[in-house]
């Protein structure tokens, strides 16, 4: 916009440079330490490398297609690279998920190319000082320590904390590394995210994933959000939600203790007391059954044991529900009525539902609501479970879990046999990697490991109580922020106690700085996903390919390279990458994808191939933003990202399944029905579907999952080729690597996993039907007797407390309910986003939301500092945000902050130049005990606290 060309460059600008102004900010924020000035000096030279200002405007632009790494919506964008520097970010208007839109995090994504606060090179802590070391030394020392511990305490004493930020290939290789090392002590943040969803939902109808897609929400007539705040946690999904609201006049019901940004757009906000999801759902079901609003045909054909629920619901008449939940009878009725009158309706939930000690039951209750309404398997319906991290779906699918191998095969010997077969390895060798002894009657190879939520208990617990040889003595924190785990004081003690702490991450993270150690901590700089390539699964199971945007910054290395180097050091590299070709001494990413596709039959992650995924990513514009389908172009007829199940081999060209269990479509076109996963009958009652089947199925009734025997019984065996027969003999659809069984089943219109009913009862869980149980730390002591928690029990390798905590009354000393959640500006533990100045500037202080009434009682004014003490005594000093967002008696904190503990800054513990722009108290320092008995999900949504003026 040239007005007049300036001849003389009048230099009057006295404005401070960016660096200085930020330092000034740091000073004001009181984070100044001796290290910071030096840190900036250190940083400058390296920062330059990546700065856009060194690149002339007219340097040639390379455009890369990549996917935002913040949340699991999977927004696409164009990254512009000039001279190897990420200089620009352009909206991908043609992207089917986000149509160019981004939230604060996505819009600030390019900062990944700066990485000022990143770890620059491998470091180790020597006598309290960070010392730069070479990669070679780092791998050698870490590897030697692993081998040493293996010798002394067995393989289970090394813990592999993984990440939902890995690519699918990274997830797979990490799980495989743990397997080859010989342990199930591998997990990632899905444990504390949607583990209860996966358990609850998969046990209801087969798969634990989001059933529909973000885009499909556009077809909903009612949107029921419980424990979900997409306006802040998944902002781009609001695009689809608001379109439904505008175009269909869809009713939006938000069930959340807070009046969230999402609630602001709702038709009905139900502010339940934290931890009362089940009574609320039962309260709705009470009206649904009372008024005959349930879908009787659907229930009769496709739902198992709704009668048991009907009985349970009778215990929750409106008055009782109002008393337990704190929501008026009228509001509960309205919620039920809106859902009944506006079908199809979708149910969306997130951490507000899952992060409870009854999380699995919560998720089952939501599913039951949808089953009663007949909203499953239809466009505009379903349970749209929004996953958190960008690839937490992929990480879960690929078995980055303490109780699973990739593809949810479990840890049975059959599962190990399958994967050993995929890996082309000798079962005996794989077995030999594990501890051969049993502990507390449990065999390490087939027993789930120690969960992400409680690795610290694995370090601190008396080892005689552990179902493994010894305590955890060494842990990798590979892309996981430990400040997202409750009971931070125990986390700190555990970090102190271990022999060795290894952080592999672009940032130092809390595992690297919150301990009080002087030695034995390694920081290995990992590259972000923008410095490598690979596939990523969004919450809707669509798989996208990230192109490499830039070369790894500084001395960082890609996850897969670090894993491979470690495997080489440990002497297992040959087996680790037996079927994977190498290039320049490193495994080829696409080859890893191919190995994934070779083994993931259970969820149909076999029909994709690197080529198919890349084709989709290269042709965003051909997919509809409404239907996700390509009307034309090279992927014509396919659904974007080939959401699994994408049956068969890539050559079968299955289009992917956007909507799970959708009977209106042929299986070959992405149709299906509920999965026959739990047998054909239970207590003499038929578990298979009755008179209901997907379009074109030759078996027009329920049927079990396909095996070689079933094919023979049906007379379809000869549809297999000779090679397929050879492979399929003695196997089933999940283990037949030829894909013959799957192919033939689909040929006959049948879905390989069988056709069953969805279950309202889960007989293998502690509660067969969802049961309301008061939180361990509850303010409603009067309800404890009627709705008590579980008895203490051993869950997998760890003893787990319930009753012994709930018995004690903490509500006198800690009268306020404490819940936690997300901010739009930050993500996860926040180490990365708080190191991004564009985001950090927007949220500079950790805060607690407190109702004006509670604040007035305590003489607290908005913006003042307060001490918040959790029910286990964890104290944090935070700013008060006095707001009606929370009801009287309820407080809320975001969980993204860290770097301050008990009012004390941890900034001096960071290596120079890596202190994030914003640090603050971790909410989890105040949060307390409480774990789901099925998945070991932590309780972060219903605890108690007291707040006093600081």
């Amino acid at each position: 916009m040239k007005l007049t060309r300036k001849s003389d460059v009048a230099q009057v600008a006295d404005k401070p440079t960016l660096g200085i102004s930020r330092r000034q900010f740091m000073k004001q924020a009181g984070i100044t330490t001796g290290g910071i000035a030096a840190a900036s000096l250190l940083g400058t030279g390296m920062m330059r490398r990546a700065e856009a200002k060194d690149v002339p405007h007219d340097a040639p632009i390379e455009v890369k297609r990549t996917i935002c790494s913040a949340c699991a919506v999977g927004c696409g964008l164009y990254a512009e690279v000039q001279n190897g520097v990420w200089t620009g970010q352009e909206p991908a208007f043609d992207h089917p998920f986000n149509a160019g839109g981004h939230c604060a995090k996505g819009a600030a994504l390019r900062e990944h190319g700066h990485g000022e606060k990143r770890l620059k090179y491998p470091m180790k802590l020597v006598d309290g000082k960070w010392k730069k070391i070479s990669w070679e030394d780092a791998i050698n020392e870490v590897g030697d320590q692993m081998l040493n511990i293996r010798k002394e305490s067995g393989p289970d004493s090394v813990y592999f904390m993984g990440s939902a930020k890995f690519s699918n290939e990274g997830c797979y290789m990490y799980r495989k590394l743990a397997a080859m090392w010989g342990t199930n002590n591998v997990d990632h943040s899905a444990r504390i995210c949607h583990s209860t969803t996966v358990a609850g939902v998969a046990n209801t109808w087969g798969y634990g994933a989001q059933t529909n897609s973000f885009n499909d929400i556009q077809n909903a007539n009612a949107i029921f959000l419980i424990g979900a705040n997409p306006a802040e946690a998944h902002p781009v999904s609001m695009q689809h939600i608001l379109i439904a609201k505008e175009k269909n006049n869809a009713k939006i019901i938000v069930v959340d203790p807070r009046f969230s940004r999402t609630a602001a757009h709702s038709d009905l906000h139900c502010a339940i007391r934290p931890g009362t999801d089940i009574p609320f759902i039962y309260g709705m079901l009470w009206h649904i059954f009372e008024n005959g609003w349930e879908d009787k045909t659907f229930i009769q054909q496709r739902v198992f044991e709704m009668e048991t629920i009907r009985e349970e619901v009778k215990k929750f008449p409106p008055k009782e529900v109002a008393d337990i939940t704190g929501v008026s009878e009228e509001v509960v009725y309205q919620a039920a009525k809106l859902m009944a009158e506006n079908r199809p309706g979708t149910v969306i939930w997130c951490m507000g539902g899952t992060q409870h000690h009854v999380g699995n039951a919560n998720t089952r209750a939501y599913c039951i609501l949808q089953l009663a309404l007949g909203n499953m398997g239809v466009s505009g319906g379903g349970t749209n479970i929004f996953r958190g991290h960008d690839n937490v779906q992929g990480a879960t699918d690929l078995g980055l879990l303490f109780d699973n191998l990739p593809g949810y095969y479990g840890l049975t010997s059959a599962a190990w046999t399958h994967w050993t077969h995929v890996w082309d390895l000798d079962m005996e060798w794989v077995k030999s990697r594990f501890d051969q002894n049993a502990y507390l009657g449990k065999d390490p190879m087939t027993t789930p490991g120690i969960p992400c939520s409680r690795w610290h208990d694995g370090v601190l617990e008396d080892k005689s109580k552990l179902a493994q040889k010894d305590n955890i003595r060494m842990a990798f924190f590979w892309g996981q922020s430990v400040n997202t785990e409750t009971r931070q004081r125990e986390v700190r003690d555990a970090l102190d106690k271990m022999d060795t702490v290894v952080v592999v991450d672009p940032f130092p993270t809390m595992a690297g700085v919150m301990h009080r150690r002087k030695n034995g901590v390694y920081l290995l700089p990992a590259a972000t996903q923008f410095e490598t390539q690979g596939s990523v699964s969004n919450s809707g199971r669509s798989i996208q390919w990230r192109e490499q945007v830039i070369q790894p910054l500084f001395e960082s290395k890609t996850d897969i390279e670090i894993m491979y180097r470690l495997a080489q050091k440990l002497g297992i590299a040959e087996q680790y990458t037996k079927r994977i070709a190498k290039e320049n001494g490193l495994p080829v990413i696409e080859e890893i994808t191919r190995e994934i596709n070779r083994g993931m039959w259970t969820i149909g992650m076999t029909g994709q191939s690197p080529e198919r995924i890349k084709l989709h990513t290269q042709n965003w514009g051909t997919f509809s933003n409404k239907t996700l389908e390509a009307a034309g172009g090279p992927a014509k007829g396919e659904t974007y990202g080939l959401p699994w199940p994408c049956w068969g081999t890539p050559e079968a060209k299955h289009p992917g399944t956007q909507i799970l269990y959708n009977q209106s479509k042929h299986v070959k076109d992405g149709g299906g029905n509920f999965r026959a996963r739990y047998g054909v009958e239970y207590n003499g009652k038929n578990l298979l579907a009755e008179g209901s089947f997907s379009k074109g199925a030759e078996i027009q009734d329920g049927y079990p999952e396909f095996t070689d025997k079933l094919l023979k019984q049906l007379g379809w065996w000869d549809d297999l080729t000779a090679e397929e027969k050879a492979e399929a003999e003695g196997r089933n659809w999940k283990t037949d690597l030829s894909g013959g069984i799957v192919r033939v089943a689909i040929k006959h219109g049948c879905i390989p996993f069988g056709n069953a009913k969805a279950r309202c009862i889960v007989w293998t869980f502690p509660d067969q039907v969802p049961v309301h149980r008061e939180p361990l730390y509850t303010a409603r002591r009067d309800l404890v007797a009627k709705y008590p928690t579980y008895d203490d029990m051993q869950v997998h390798r760890l003893p787990t407390l319930y009753k012994s905590i709930q018995e004690k009354d903490f509500s006198g000393k800690y009268p306020l309910v404490l819940t936690s959640g997300r901010l739009v500006e930050y993500e996860g533990g926040g180490e990365e986003s708080r190191s991004n100045p564009w985001l950090a500037e927007l949220q500079q202080e950790m805060f607690v939301e407190i109702n004006p009434g509670d604040a007035a009682d305590r003489g607290i004014r908005n913006g003042e500092f307060v001490w918040l003490e959790g029910a286990e005594g964890g104290r944090i000093k935070v700013q008060a945000l006095v707001t009606p967002r929370v009801k009287p008696g309820v407080t809320f904190m975001p969980y993204h902050f860290a770097g301050v503990m008990h009012g004390e800054s941890l900034a001096p513990n960071y290596p120079e130049g890596t202190v994030p722009y914003v640090i603050g108290e971790s909410a989890n320092t105040a949060l307390t005990y409480g774990y789901d008995p099925v998945t070991q999900m932590q309780e972060t949504k219903a605890s108690l606290c007291q707040i006093v003026k600081a």
Binding site: K6, V12, K251, D267, E841, Q843
Partner: protein, 327 residues
């Protein structure tokens, strides 16, 4: 005057998805959600809200104020200040051409009477010199863009206006000190008296023609005209200082934007008054009144000047023996 409303209104209407487009017809919403019109009404009333921005005033989407301020400044105050300076000079030059100056009827006596202390003289100049510079730089800031910039090159204009701001900011301090001291220390001699009315009736005796010619009204230490100037200066000096402080030290006073705008207007109005009086004052002292300037050079005045212009004061000091001649 209405054009501002119209244009700002357009901007706001475009900004907020408001009134003109969204229509009413409320359905009974389950949750009372604000309609567009309600949101619009709140915003127009200057509602504030929550924002993550730390910047000043960012919690308020729309600050409402009387937009006529803008035209007042550009169309009225800026020309008025020009007129107060250059207009007054022209008028005075013409006046002197027509009327001539006020001569001492008996010439200079050579005997100098003590009138002002050295301290008085210095505080006069402490206020006066900055005042002149403030008038010139203030004029540049208020009216420069209309009257000077069109004739100046871009670089020169930028330098001038930048310099004007710097000088204006710095000179404000001595000016205010001078103003405060003069106001406080000199006030007792400036109290109005009955004979001051007469002084006005004959226009101070400066008219050299018509019925007023040759009249010499009574005057004490200060004549009525001087008193008027003094009190005008005291009052408008207060206003200009107070408003100036708000503008100069926003970090101390944290004025609202509207208050700042009001300060800006009051500052200009005061400047116009002070400027006009200053021109008169300067002309009176230097050109019009023979022998007048001496007072603010040495602090002494000629005895004849004293008897002619301040007869009552002269009589008084002579009577009570405080009359002091220069050695």
């Amino acid at each position: 005057m209405n054009k501002w409303f119209k244009h700002i209104g357009l901007a706001i209407a475009l900004l907020f998805s408001a009134v003109c487009l969204a229509n009413g017809g409320d359905e009974q919403a389950l949750q009372p959600q604000a309609s567009d019109a309600q949101i619009w009404a709140q915003l127009k009333d200057g509602a504030t809200g929550y924002t993550t921005s730390q910047s000043e005033f960012h919690a308020q989407p729309i600050n409402t104020y009387d937009l006529r301020v803008l035209e007042l400044r550009s169309d009225w105050l800026a020309p008025a200040l020009m007129a107060a300076l250059f207009g007054m000079i022209i008028i005075f030059v013409l006046f002197i051409k027509v009327n001539g100056i006020s001569k001492l009827h008996h010439g200079f006596s050579g005997k100098l009477v003590y009138r002002w202390s050295k301290f008085d003289v210095s505080i006069h100049w402490l206020g006066a010199i900055p005042c002149l510079m403030l008038i010139l730089t203030g004029l540049t800031l208020l009216a420069g863009r209309f009257f000077f910039q069109p004739w100046l090159g871009e670089g020169i204009w930028e330098a001038i206006v930048y310099g004007a701001k710097q000088i204006h900011d710095v000179m404000a301090i001595p000016f205010m000190i001078g103003w405060a001291l003069m106001t406080v220390l000199w006030a007792k001699n400036q109290l109005p008296k009955m004979y001051d009315v007469k002084w006005f009736l004959v226009v101070g005796g400066y008219i050299n023609f018509g019925p007023f010619k040759g009249k010499h009204p009574d005057a004490g230490f200060a004549n009525a005209g001087e008193k008027m100037w003094f009190w005008a200066f005291a009052l408008f000096g207060l206003i200009i200082s107070a408003s100036g402080m708000l503008l100069l030290f926003p970090n101390l006073f944290e004025p609202s934007r509207t208050l700042s705008l009001i300060a800006l207007v009051l500052h200009s109005v005061s400047a116009i008054v002070i400027c006009a009086f200053s021109i008169v004052h300067i002309f009176m002292a230097t050109v019009m009144s023979e022998g007048g300037m001496e007072c603010m050079v040495s602090g002494y005045c000629d005895e004849n000047w004293a008897t002619q212009h301040h007869n009552l004061w002269y009589d008084e000091i002579k009577a009570n023996g405080t009359l002091k001649y220069k050695e």
